[in-house]
C-alpha cells in the first residue's frame, strides 16, 4: 500500500539528487576535514565543507557571520541560547510561548542555572505581541529568541519588526528558522538577527545537519569541547556527507517547489469546507505554505490519527493523549485554545512528493472517520 505522508513538517523524504550528491562523500571523499597541511584527501574534504559553508552564508546574505555546523536544529538552538547566556553570565531571556521544545526546554534549563525567563504572549493565531515584547525587554535582557515559522500552525512572525525592537533595546536576537528556511527568503543584510538556526531535513535534505549562523562579533560558550573544528565553537568530526546534502537541498529548492506545495495546501483548505464543525487553527495570511492545523470539534485527535493511519494517512495531533507527557500542545494552548479544542486538532503538512489525489482521498477518509468519532462523542449533539 502506498501511504499518504502528510507529516512533512516533522521531516521529509530525502531528494534523490540530494542523496546522489552525498554518496561520494561516503565512499570516495570520506576523509576528515581538519588537516589543512596534510594530505589531499583531507584537503578535498575541507574544500567541500568550506564550499557548503560559503554557499549557505551567501544564500542568507550573511556578510559578517560565521556558519557553525551542528547535528540538528535542536543542537543549534541549544548552542545559541546556552552559548550566548553562559557567555553573558547573567540576565533575563525573552522567548515566545510557542517556540519548539528545543527552545522551551532549553530556557527551562537556563532558568535552573539562574537566568530569568520571560514569555511573550501570542494572539489567537500565534502572532507575537510586539507591544508585550517591548514591555518585557529591559536593561538586563541579554537575549530574545523568537522563531520564524511555527512548527505546528505555520504562523510567520515579522522578523523585521522583532529585529528592530531588539536592536533598539540593544539585546541579542536569535531566530529559529528551522521550519521556514528555505521556503521563505531570509536576508541577514537587511534583518537585525544576531543568530539564526536553520535545519536540513524538512526541505528534502538529510538528517544530521543543521547550522547556527552567528554574527562575528558575538561571543558564545561552546556546548561541546574538543578538537578545533567550527571556529572552536563546536568540536568533533563534521558530518560532511550530511552537510553536502544540506547544501544540495538548499540549491534545488526553488520557487516551483514552493508554489506546488502551496497549491496543495490551498486545495486542501478548499476541500476541508465539506466537513462541518472544523476550526482552522492556522492563520490565513503570513503562514507557512505547507501546513494546515485544524480542530475537528467534539472528537479526540489520537483516535482520529489512529483511524487515518489504518487507512494509510500519516498525520499528527496536538491532543494530550498523543503526547509522551500527556500534555496538550503548548502552542495551541498558548494561542488560547481550550484543552477540548487542542484535543481534536490535527496537523496536516504537505510536501513536494504529495499529490492532489492524496488530498482527495484524505478528505474522504476524514468525512468517514470524523462522523464515526462524533457519533461516539458525549459532546456532540447532531444538529
Amino acid at each position: 500500500m502506498n501511504r499518504i505522508y502528510f507529516d512533512n513538517a516533522a521531516t521529509t523524504r530525502v531528494d534523490d539528487d540530494v542523496l546522489k550528491a552525498m554518496i561520494p562523500f561516503f565512499t570516495q571523499n570520506y576523509a576528515i576535514a581538519s588537516s589543512i597541511f596534510s594530505h589531499d584527501d583531507g584537503i578535498i574534504a575541507q574544500e567541500a565543507l568550506e564550499g557548503a559553508r560559503g554557499f549557505i552564508l551567501n544564500k542568507l546574505s550573511a556578510k559578517d557571520y560565521r556558519c557553525i555546523f551542528t547535528s540538528n536544529p535542536t543542537e543549534s538552538n541549544n548552542l545559541a541560547l546556552k552559548g550566548a547566556s553562559f557567555a553573558k553570565k547573567s540576565g533575563n531571556i525573552v522567548v515566545s510561548k510557542i517556540e519548539d521544545l528545543s527552545i522551551i526546554n532549553t530556557v527551562k534549563f537556563l532558568q535552573k542555572k539562574g537566568f530569568e525567563i520571560r514569555y511573550v504572549d501570542v494572539d489567537g493565531k500565534g502572532f507575537v505581541s510586539l507591544d508585550h515584547l517591548k514591555q518585557l525587554i529591559d536593561d538586563n535582557t541579554i537575549l530574545v529568541s523568537i522563531q520564524h515559522a511555527n512548527q505546528e500552525i505555520g504562523t510567520l512572525q515579522d522578523l523585521s519588526a522583532i529585529g528592530e525592537i531588539c536592536k533598539q533595546k540593544n539585546c541579542i536576537y536569535h531566530c529559529d528558522a528551522t521550519f521556514s528556511f528555505p521556503f521563505l527568503d531570509i536576508d541577514l543584510s537587511k534583518l537585525n538577527i544576531d543568530m539564526l538556526t536553520i535545519g536540513s531535513d524538512t526541505y528534502y535534505g538529510p538528517k544530521g545537519a543543521s547550522a547556527l549562523i552567528v554574527k562575528n562579533s558575538l561571543e558564545l560558550e561552546p556546548l561541546i569541547s574538543g578538537g578545533y573544528q567550527e571556529y572552536n565553537l563546536r568540536a568533533g568530526t563534521q558530518n560532511i556527507p550530511a552537510i553536502i546534502g544540506m547544501k544540495k537541498a538548499i540549491e534545488i529548492f526553488d520557487k516551483e517547489t514552493f508554489n506546488y506545495i502551496k497549491s496543495l495546501k490551498d486545495y486542501f483548505l478548499e476541500k476541508i469546507n465539506q466537513i462541518p464543525h472544523v476550526r482552522l487553527n492556522s492563520p490565513q495570511n503570513a503562514s507557512h505554505p505547507g501546513i494546515v492545523n485544524a480542530t475537528f470539534l467534539y472528537i479526540e485527535g489520537e483516535s482520529l490519527t489512529l483511524r487515518l493511519n489504518l487507512k494509510g494517512v500519516s498525520v499528527i495531533t496536538g491532543s494530550a493523549c498523543f503526547s509522551k507527557s500527556l500534555e496538550a500542545s503548548h502552542v495551541l494552548l498558548s494561542c488560547g485554545l481550550t484543552h477540548e479544542l487542542a484535543h481534536g486538532s490535527i496537523r496536516f503538512s504537505f510536501g513536494k512528493y504529495n499529490t492532489f489525489e492524496e488530498i482527495d482521498k484524505t478528505i474522504e477518509y476524514l468525512k468517514e472517520d470524523v462522523a464515526f468519532l462524533r457519533n461516539l462523542s458525549p459532546l456532540y449533539k447532531e444538529d
Partner: protein
C-alpha cells in the same frame, strides 16, 4: 507490519466499539473527565430494581483508543452483572481482558472504570441506597487517580 503499542483486542474495540450510544431515561449515569489528558467518558445504565442486575449499559467517549476500548469492554463485562458485582470489578482485570495496555495508557482504563462506579453510585443515590453523594470535582478525581496518572510509568 509495524506495531502500534495497542493489543489486537484494543484495536478491535476501538474500531468497533460495543454498547455505544445513549439510553433514554437511564437509571444511573456518570460523566468522568481525566485531569491527566482531558478526556471524557459518559456511562449510562438500566438496572432491574428487583434483581439489581444491569440490564443495559451504554457509553460515549471523548478520548483515545485505549479509553474507547476500555469503556467498551467494561460495558460488556458489566452487562448482566449485579451492581454489587460490577462495583467489585478491578481495573487490572479490565486491562487483562484487553490484552494489556501501554503503561502510559493505563490511566484511561481507570477513568472508564471510575465512570462505571460513579454511574452505579448515581443509581444507588437516586434510589435511596446510599446516604450522600460527594460531588465529583477535580480534587476527587485526582485523589482517585493518585498514583496512576504518571504518564511515563502509568502508575
Amino acid at each position: 507490519m509495524p506495531s502500534i503499542p495497542y493489543s489486537k483486542k484494543v484495536m478491535d474495540l476501538f474500531l468497533n466499539p460495543k454498547n455505544l450510544g445513549e439510553i433514554e431515561n437511564p437509571d444511573g449515569q456518570a460523566t468522568e473527565g481525566s485531569p491527566a489528558c482531558g478526556d471524557i467518558v459518559q456511562l449510562q445504565l438500566k438496572v432491574n430494581k428487583d434483581t439489581q442486575v444491569i440490564e443495559d449499559i451504554k457509553f460515549k467517549s471523548f478520548g483515545c483508543a485505549s479509553n474507547i476500548a476500555t469503556a467498551s469492554i467494561i460495558t460488556e463485562i458489566a452487562k448482566g452483572k449485579t451492581i454489587q458485582e460490577a462495583k467489585n470489578l478491578k481495573y487490572s482485570q479490565v486491562v487483562e481482558e484487553l490484552g494489556g495496555l501501554p503503561a502510559v495508557k493505563v490511566h484511561c482504563s481507570i477513568l472508564a472504570l471510575q465512570s462505571l462506579k460513579r454511574a452505579i453510585e448515581n443509581y444507588e443515590e437516586k434510589n435511596g441506597l446510599v446516604a450522600k453523594d460527594r460531588p465529583t470535582d477535580e480534587a476527587l478525581i485526582k485523589e482517585r487517580l493518585r498514583g496512576v496518572i504518571d504518564p511515563n510509568t502509568g502508575r
